[in-house]
């Protein structure tokens, strides 16, 4: 019987991606899986290659997951979320104003200028703007397009939005909850300098997307990922770099808000084509 194999795609949003997947590669190969990875410069080609069968698995952003699902559906196949990080579950985004702002509640933001991340950032653009739209609040938007095509993996857009808020250039800024904390701790935001005026419902982030039916290699891949332990000194530094303590079974119940925003903005068509007009990854 040939050794089960998996070729996984990952997006190179940071040099550490090489360290992480080189490390995981060695660990997985030591456990009977002929694992290798290819790097993409953006998510769109990675998703297309997954659905076309050129790679077996894609370490996908939530937006890439939605597109994979739509592309698969359009060609009569299905994809599934094999695993995700413990830190991918139940995230929220927040809308933040300066502490001295007259904005007291979400509806006060009507007609105000709101800073967001890159055009394709689920957490700093699509989901929070979708939340405002659902609440019926119309705002002017200033986008900070850093790392377009990386689906918000690059923190730069969110940080620039936060800086613009502190500089008084905008009335509010959108960011993921953990980055609000990180920006306060790193000093981009002062501890008492901002006020959170809105928080979205919990949503999920990345997942390891695979085609169905799964090959023996993909099945083994899932089993091995779920078996990685934070107590294992070989993988712990890699888990730290990738930002998780444990892999969880994939779930797809946490993408509704993003799907709603994608449809409302026409980011992707129902059959998975890129239809956002000002999106060039």
């Amino acid at each position: 019987m040939p050794t089960p194999s998996v070729l996984m795609g990952a997006v190179a949003y940071d040099p550490k991606v090489v360290t992480i997947w080189e490390g995981f590669r060695a660990w997985l190969r030591g456990r009977g899986l002929d694992f290798d990875f290819v790097l993409y410069s953006h998510y769109e080609r990675q998703v297309e290659d997954l659905v076309a069968g050129r790679i077996d698995a894609a370490w996908n952003s939530p937006l890439a997951w939605l597109r994979a699902q739509r592309l698969a559906l359009a060609n009569g196949t299905t994809v599934r979320a094999l695993t995700m990080r413990d830190t991918d579950q139940d995230l929220t985004s927040v809308v933040v104003v300066r502490a001295d702002s007259p904005v007291r509640q979400l509806t006060d933001l009507a007609g105000k200028l709101v800073a967001v991340g890159a055009v394709d950032s689920p957490q700093a653009t699509l989901i929070p703007l979708g939340h405002l739209a659902v609440c019926g609040v119309e705002v002017d938007v200033r986008r900070f397009d850093v790392g377009v095509g990386l689906h918000g993996d690059h923190i730069g857009g969110e940080r620039d939005a936060a800086r613009a808020l502190m500089a008084g250039e905008v009335d509010a800024a959108c960011m993921i909850d953990a980055n609000h904390l990180a920006f306060v701790q790193e000093g981009t935001l002062t501890p008492d300098g901002t006020r959170i005026v809105a928080q979205t419902a919990p949503y999920d982030h990345c997942n390891m997307t695979v085609r169905e039916p799964e090959s023996a290699g993909v099945q083994l891949f899932g089993t091995l990922l779920l078996g990685m332990s934070y107590a294992d000194a070989q993988v712990r530094p890699l888990l730290d770099l990738e930002g998780l303590r444990a892999w969880k079974d994939g779930r797809t119940t946490g993408y509704d808000a993003l799907a709603g925003a994608v449809d409302a903005t026409g980011f992707y068509s129902p059959d998975g084509r890129v239809t956002a007009t000002d999106y060039r990854p």
Binding site: T87, V94, L181, P191, Q199, A231, R245
Partner: protein, 403 residues
């Protein structure tokens, strides 16, 4: 509803932007994995920051019980990551230098001795990792003594004391100082080549060698400063002298290098500095030779201590020491050895005048110095276990350059 009892933590006004995580962490540390901590507080961002912080650290967060009126923001369920991180952790030996490991593992690397080391991390290759090869029980004591006796070249030497020497005597001082500077330079480089190779588990040895290097750095400074105190030029440096020093620096075996440098070289140097202290024509030279001599004595003590320890355990060590002396002698046999200018300068300083009787007496004193150096080397060789007749033969093979 969970049956597990809930510990409570009130953060009052404190938010995560100002260190609330410390109180949460401290409270969670007292709970087992799965233990529950009800967190309340009045910081407006707490409802956002507490779950975000917990998510990143592998703790679960539950909403407060429906109808809760106590102001609980969330119940944190302690995860296992904090414990998992320390799975397989080990102490890097004892904190104090008693019962040191005979061969500390490479994985202890740069971890502080006695610290609890998280598993993983680099295998740092410190090839001098054999206790018997590098350690001496006297090292911590010698280090403390050395650290306490560091002196400031600016204030410890009477640089401004008035004196005037005849130009030929001053020239003799400058020549001797030039010779001393290059010897101290070699004495600094030799331990420097080993410090980075010694396993940090034996840190008192590393500390001692570091101070030893600082000693040599000061010696280089004061000897060159004295050389230039009355003029602008240094003396001569002979090819043979530099060849002799180079054989010291080239020795890559720690035991052999400290044998050649400390036991034989610096041992002889202590006698030379004592001679210069007695025969110095001016207060500055007298003082700096005395200061350097105190330091050099300490270097000899350590070199002797760890070689004596090693010689007791390894009967073959003496064969290697013997071979090292022969090897160095063979390498230097065709060189002139001591710079003739240095020898003459020593005679001039010991003579103290130009009358033939003075020169003759000076010559005798330098010969007595060489005899004393030889006797000292023989004594130390006997302490390392050589028979007296062999010690005499080996001492005679020592470089004529003294160091």
């Amino acid at each position: 509803m969970s049956a597990a009892p809930v510990t409570e933590l009130d953060l009052a006004e404190l938010g995560f932007g100002r260190g609330a995580h410390l109180l949460v962490q401290r409270a969670l540390a007292g709970l087992p994995p799965g233990g529950r901590l009800a967190v309340s507080g009045r910081d407006p961002a707490l409802r956002v920051h507490l779950p975000a912080w917990c998510r990143a650290r592998g703790h679960r967060v539950e909403a407060p019980e429906p109808g809760d009126r106590t102001g609980v923001v969330a119940v944190v369920v302690r995860g296992t990551a904090d414990d998992d991180r320390w799975f397989g952790a080990e102490r890097a030996g004892p904190a104090l230098p008693t019962a040191l490991s005979s061969r500390p593992p490479a994985r202890w690397g740069l971890g502080a001795r006695g610290a609890l080391l998280e598993a993983g991390g680099p295998e740092a290759r410190f090839d001098l990792d054999d206790r018997d090869l590098v350690w001496a029980d006297v090292a911590p004591h010698l280090y403390a003594q050395a650290a306490a006796r560091q002196w400031d070249p600016q204030t410890a030497v009477p640089w401004d004391d008035p004196f005037a020497l005849p130009s030929d005597v001053e020239a003799a001082v400058v020549q001797v100082m030039t010779y001393l500077v290059e010897n101290e330079q070699a004495a600094l480089v030799v331990p420097a080549r080993f410090v980075g190779r010694i396993h940090p588990h034996f840190r008192e040895v590393v500390q001692l060698l570091a101070v030893q290097m600082a000693d040599e750095a000061r010696h280089m400074e004061v000897f060159s400063r004295r050389a230039l105190l009355r003029g602008a030029e240094l003396g001569t440096s002979s090819a043979g002298g530099r060849q002799s020093l180079f054989t010291l620096v080239a020795e890559s075996d720690f035991a052999l290098a400290s044998f050649l440098l400390s036991v034989l070289g610096e041992g002889s140097f202590v006698d030379l500095l004592s001679f210069l202290h007695q025969n110095a024509p001016d207060p500055v030279t007298r003082r700096i030779c005395w200061l350097a001599m105190q330091d050099e004595r300490r270097h000899v003590v350590f070199g002797m201590a760890h070689l004596e320890h090693q010689a007791r355990l390894d009967p073959l060590l003496r064969d290697r020491l013997r071979a090292a002396i022969h090897r160095r002698h063979d390498a230097l046999v065709d060189t002139a050895g001591l710079n003739a200018d240095v020898f003459d300068a020593l005679v001039v300083l010991a003579a103290g005048g130009w009358h033939p009787d003075d020169v003759s007496a000076g010559f005798d004193r330098v010969q007595a110095l060489q005899h004393a150096m030889d006797q000292g080397r023989q004594r130390r060789l006997v302490r390392l276990g050589f028979r007296p007749d062999e010690a005499a033969a080996l001492s005679a093979l020592h470089t004529r350059n003294f160091m």
